[in-house]
Symmetry: none
DNA sequence: TTATTGGTGATTGATTATGATTGAAAATGG
DNA sequence: CCATTTTCAATCATAATCAATCACCAATAA
């Protein structure tokens, strides 16, 4: 094990797991805590992670130092780009399923097609769409999860089993060559039910999700039709997986303005 | 859980829920109140939230003036009074069903009991309750009706058939000696399903509804347990009907202040 | 061989985070 | 207004963690 190799592993681990303790890293990499601390120090200097007492956390988790609003807005802008691209696929008369999440919320916000039926399990999206006149809104029942603002659980799945939609837009926490993942089992089950009832399945995920593998698998790429993101695809492994499963990759760089 | 991780969580929580108590955060994050206070102090110094006695609130909502729509609600003051009275009946641990409507919305707004489960078919109420920490929120699925902001229809009724609640608060457009009525058949069917699944049925209606008979009957007085309003009952015929069916009549005049 | 260099593990005093305690301050309810 | 309760800030003790330092080893070059 070379030093740089070890540092890369630490960086990857913290990226995917959002946090790690010094003692745990030392054990995992079969080295001393001193070495881990030195590595963490260096990685922090390179902005790869953020140190804390006892370990380190991923930079985006520590979003409390750099002004929260600033970061929030900038994040929203990337997601708005994805949404702008995704919303073009929605045609009048269609039935659209919008999963909970900030990116799908942007889709709802930018939706201006008349005569569409929107089904959602997000209270925020529902709230947003109540103001839109040309939208027939259907809300999926379920239990509210305040971490994501989505309605999930058996009720949601039961209701989903009774509907069929033309197109579904799903968010995901992890996007890897084998498929998409999310940290919560309830959410995953609900998303899976969404995949099952949609003619066309679109995943929306900004590039920070690429390479991440979260706890629970939602589905594989063969179940997905389109992946929307905000930048060119630079992971050859993921690109290959998408191609093999006929998944269209679409993104909108900030071009036309 | 690292300190910075915890602080980020607190910041996010307060942002999304608009407020949080020290004790609740301590419990949620499995730490002491001392630590939470230190975190809150630091977060306040960074302008991420605003501390209050007992907790913190989000920076953006420092003042609570009536919402844009709320000013245009007729009899808003009466409805708030009715809600203040009705909300006293809700006890910790109970499961509460809140029908859509401006009066029931006021109940949601004034709800401050911890550990209750609230089931609602109103997007507005759901949206309001996402901000309340101690509430387990369940949303009834269904189709959105623009005129009332409620979710109704077969989906709603199906989901209602699968639940049982301790107490339900219903609105009504007409209150007459034979029972309560509403103008829309879909809404009526949904309200009827609500009556069926509740142990205790409470009707909330300001005095302007008394004597009105709307198009579709929801239920008769024998199905109702309590009627909340804003003034003494002056219709002897209605009073008689209530008495014969053991319906409690409760109101809150603007007394104690 | 010998010196040097870079990386490593161990040690230790210093630092930091935390939970408990207590008197002070603030909210609450007459 | 006062009494009561709740919450707070300040302080302390403790435990965990860290930075600094030193010694060691292996690889390399003179």
């Amino acid at each position: 094990m070379f030093a740089d190799e070890r540092k890369a592993q630490i960086a990857t681990y913290v990226q995917t797991h959002k946090s790690a303790t010094v003692s745990m890293l030392a054990q995992m990499l079969a080295t001393s805590e001193s070495t881990i601390r030195r590595d963490l120090q260096e990685l922090e200097e390179h902005g790869q992670l953020r140190r804390t007492h006892g370990g380190a956390i991923a930079v985006e988790v520590a979003s409390f130092e750099p002004t929260w609003q600033e970061k929030h807005v900038r994040h929203a802008e990337e997601k708005a780009r994805i949404a702008r691209c995704a919303v073009k696929r929605i045609a009048p008369g269609q039935t659209v399923l919008l999963d909970g999440g900030t990116t799908t919320y942007q889709i709802a916000k930018q939706l201006s097609v008349d005569g569409v039926t929107v089904i959602t399990n997000s209270v925020d999206i529902a709230s947003e769409l109540t103001a839109k006149a040309g939208v027939h809104l259907v809300v999926l029942g379920g239990e509210f999860r305040n971490t994501t603002g989505a309605l999930v659980g058996p009720f949601t799945e039961q209701m989903l089993s009774g509907v069929h939609v033309d197109i579904a837009f799903l968010g995901a926490n992890g996007v890897d060559p084998t498929g998409i993942t999310t940290p919560n089992t309830l959410e995953a089950a609900t998303k899976r039910a969404m995949v099952a009832c949609a003619q066309t399945v679109c995943v929306v995920a900004d590039r920070s999700k690429f390479g991440q593998v979260s706890f629970v698998r939602i589905c594989e790429w063969k179940d997905v039709d389109v992946l929307y993101s905000d930048a060119p695809l630079d992971d050859p492994e993921l690109a290959g997986a998408l191609q093999r499963n006929d998944v269209i990759y679409a993104y909108d760089a900030q071009d036309g303005e």
